[in-house]
């Protein structure tokens, strides 16, 4: 996060708010803080999980294999985003890259649904007859992540269109940077959730 704490001797180098660069930094910082807020939301849910689990009457579940696959898919999608900068530097289109990330995102979502299907077939339910709060937490946590991913998917659709229209250049691709930041956040969040659910 770009925090500017100005030293007295640097005051002259400090430019005013007309500087577009500063506004760019500001938008990135805002997204970062937004991600902190979303993390606190998940911190609330995972804390509730930990506290409730410690009280007993907790059904032990096994994470569906589909979640392992979806983890690999989303990590791959994030990995792809790292090539955006070099492609733009060489004046190439990033349409292929961004479109791939979008498709991987959709595949991830599909695998999450398959994972839930598998859970139901194994008797782990969100609610109703035979359900246990452990299962409820599992569904709520993964559903909450998917809901936030949905926002990322919408953003990626816009990015894909922009990429097709060659709107991104090495000097001007702030919105793609922001979308990438958010997408990496979603990946990290999922990996942490996955590890949390698997080992805690």
């Amino acid at each position: 996060m770009n925090v500017k704490t100005v030293k007295r001797e640097d005051l002259d180098k400090y430019s005013n708010t007309e500087d577009k660069r500063l506004v760019n930094i500001a938008l990135k910082s805002m997204l970062f803080i937004g991600m902190v807020a979303i993390s606190m939301f998940f911190a609330g849910l995972t804390s509730a999980y930990i506290v409730r689990k410690a009280e007993g009457n907790w059904m032990e579940f096994i994470l569906p294999d589909w979640f392992l696959v979806s983890t690999m898919v989303i990590v791959l999608s994030s990995f792809l985003l790292f090539f955006v900068k070099s492609r733009l530097k060489n004046n190439n289109s990033v349409f292929g890259l961004v479109c791939s990330v979008l498709i991987l995102g959709l595949i991830f979502s599909f695998f999450q649904f398959k994972g839930w299907e598998q859970l139901i077939s194994e008797g782990v339910f969100l609610t109703g007859e035979g359900s246990n709060v452990a299962g409820s937490f599992l569904y709520v946590l993964t559903l909450a992540h998917l809901a936030h991913l949905f926002g990322g998917v919408i953003a990626l659709i816009f990015a894909t269109v922009n990429a097709k229209l060659r709107r991104y250049t090495i000097d001007s691709y702030l919105s793609l940077k922001l979308i990438s930041m958010y997408w990496h956040f979603l990946t990290i969040l999922w990996v942490l959730l996955f590890l949390f659910l698997k080992f805690l």
Binding site: V6, T17, A26, I33, G34, G44, T127, S136, V140
Partner: protein, 584 residues
């Protein structure tokens, strides 16, 4: 150079505006409207408490189904009023109305920026708030009534419509409304933090920031870290209510029917709720204290005493506010050791609070005080903070809480710290920055009348409540007349209601003054209070981009009032150091 040549229509100027000054006013007007609604609700239930079960002309304001045949208020609708009053005042007025207004208005102006980092997101934050308001108010007209489980909405009461009618549609609307509200608050908070950290003008280092900005920054950070947990809390409640999960519910028979829920714990809700709930009261208080620091300094013609200590105190209060939430839960049967920990942290938070009070007193010492209405309210804030803060020491002590928890002692305490201290801070802010917001002056004598009337009536309402609490009277009671042990308390209840109604009338003076002055007030000068901060260097007729030419460059801190060797008793922040002058 600002190049805002786009054509302005009524819609872009007043409705979908991205200018932070207009958005601030939108928050202010909406906050004031909701304050009137919330205050009318309290007038109504205070009348019930003074004359239990009887009819009253005030009840004409209520929807039809809220009264019984005798024309008296229905007990469950009494609880609905209490719930909505709390919700509206805590969130709509003291959070959005206070932070939303002053963070939006002051931050770019006081740090020397053209506008917030993103005017668009700022505009969105208001519109989320507006829609949240519409949703909340619509719940008043639902047949089963609005949410009625207290503003703290503990399940199972808030989860089961069978437990109280308001927990049906009304509660669903409450949850929807709060979600929109929190999203709006967070969008605002993002802007405030990033703008303060990244868009300060040349020379505005963090150490030269006015205390108001520090307070607003720390408040925004508190909000980002705590509001989302309310959403997770609410999400689990939503699932329990609508999808039959058992996060909070277990072993329940209601209306003769045994429910299927098993394994849930309402205490889990309380932990999640109060994790926001406690920082929330500091989200309310800190902006008020920030405003008061500014108003006191300007009107004392002296620097705020102990600037660094004041910032440190704000930071310490903010940090500690995250580890005291259990003091709302001493009586839940928690492990006594845990209770001890929370007593310890809660009493610790008294220390930076005390430091702030002493610093305010030291600022007034040997000052040359100018009693603008804003200054009167600032002094009122300090008085209420002393009074309310001290009773907090009783409540924070777990052993003492055993007998005062959920009694009127608590009601007295939190009203004095929030309903007096924070609201006075808000009034001080409005009176002080009105000339900058509207280019006109508010009427001074009406301001004096408003202050003294409010000050007397407010203490008249809330001080006696401590005695009701020490007499054992619980809060959220429709009437005290069902227990012989409380018969002697009716007189006190009548006195409280009298002051409450009188106090409400004094607020009409303020509303009148506010509206009248916008249209017919005398034109303000650029810097009527002779203040140092940057907002007073902007032209009276507010423009987009705030300054017509270059942005001001800051050369000194905000508190050079009555500095020895200076010609005037104030030196604005953009005035360069004179020859031989050392910066403070």
């Amino acid at each position: 150079m600002s190049d805002h040549h786009h054509k302005e229509t009524f819609i872009t100027k007043y409705i979908f505006c991205t200018d932070h000054k207009m958005i601030a006013k939108q928050f202010l007007i909406t906050g004031m409207f909701m304050a009137i609604v919330g205050m009318l609700m309290s007038a109504i239930f205070r009348v019930q408490l003074a004359n239990p079960g009887e009819a009253s002309v005030l009840y004409n304001l209520l929807p039809g189904g809220w009264l019984n045949e005798a024309g008296g208020l229905n007990p469950d609708k009494y609880l609905a009023l209490v719930t909505m009053h709390g919700t509206i005042l805590v969130f709509w007025v003291l959070t959005a109305g206070l932070s939303g207004t002053f963070a939006n208005f002051l931050i770019p102006l006081q740090i020397g920026a053209r506008d917030m980092a993103s005017g668009f997101i700022n505009m969105l934050s208001y519109w989320f708030f507006f829609i949240a308001t519409v949703v909340l108010l619509s719940s008043l007209f639902v047949e089963s009534g609005p949410a009625s489980g207290g503003w703290t909405i503990y399940p199972p009461l808030s989860a089961l419509p069978q437990a109280i009618p308001g927990s049906g549609t009304g509660m669903t609307l409450w949850l929807l409304s709060i979600t929109l509200f929190v999203v709006g608050s967070l969008l605002g908070g993002l802007n405030y933090i990033v703008t303060i950290l990244n868009l300060r003008t040349k020379g505005m280092s963090m150490q030269r920031l006015p205390l108001t900005v520090w307070a607003l920054l720390i408040t925004a950070i508190l909000g980002v870290l705590s509001f989302p947990v309310l959403l997770s809390c609410g999400l689990l409640l939503l699932f329990d209510r609508s999808f039959g999960t058992s996060f909070y519910l277990s072993d329940i028979i209601i209306n003769g029917e045994a429910l299927h829920h098993a394994g849930g714990s309402p205490i889990l809700f309380e932990h999640l709720f109060w994790f926001l709930g406690h920082p929330e009261v500091y989200i309310i208080l800190l902006p008020a204290l920030g405003i008061v620091s500014e108003v006191i300094a300007v009107n004392s013609r002296k620097p705020i005493f102990g600037y660094k200590a004041m910032v440190g105190a704000l930071l310490l209060i903010a940090f500690l506010s995250f580890i005291v939430w259990g003091h709302h839960m001493f009586m839940t049967g928690m492990n006594p050791f845990l209770g001890s920990v929370f007593t310890f942290t809660t009493l610790l938070i008294a220390i930076p609070s005390a430091v702030k009070v002493f610093n305010y007193l030291a600022t007034l010492w040997r000052a040359n005080i100018r009693f603008t209405p804003a200054m009167l309210f600032a002094i009122g804030t300090v008085s209420a903070f002393i009074t309310g803060g001290l009773t907090g020491l009783i409540l924070g002590d777990s052993a003492l809480d055993i007998n005062v928890h959920d009694t009127y002692f608590v009601v007295g305490h939190f009203h004095i710290v929030m309903g007096l201290s924070a609201i006075y801070g808000m009034f001080a802010g409005v009176y002080h920055w009105f000339p900058k917001m509207y280019g006109k002056m508010m009427n001074k004598n009406l301001g004096y009348l408003h202050f003294w009337g409010t000050f007397i009536c407010a203490y008249g309402v809330f001080f006696p409540m401590h005695f009701l609490g020490l007499a054992g009277l619980p809060r959220r009671y429709y009437t005290n007349s069902n227990f012989p042990m409380f018969d002697g308390l009716s007189d006190i209840n009548e006195i409280i209601t009298f002051f409450a109604l009188a106090g409400a009338i004094f607020q009409a003076v303020f509303i009148f003054n506010f509206v009248y002055s916008i249209f017919k007030g005398t034109k303000a000068s650029k810097n009527p209070w002779k203040s140092n901060t940057l907002e007073w260097t902007t032209p009276i007729e507010r423009i987009h981009g705030n300054w017509p030419g270059d942005l001001p460059v800051v050369k000194r801190w905000a508190y050079d009032y009555s500095k020895p060797g200076m010609e005037d008793d104030f030196v604005p922040q953009d005035v360069p150091l004179f020859e031989g002058e050392k910066e403070h």
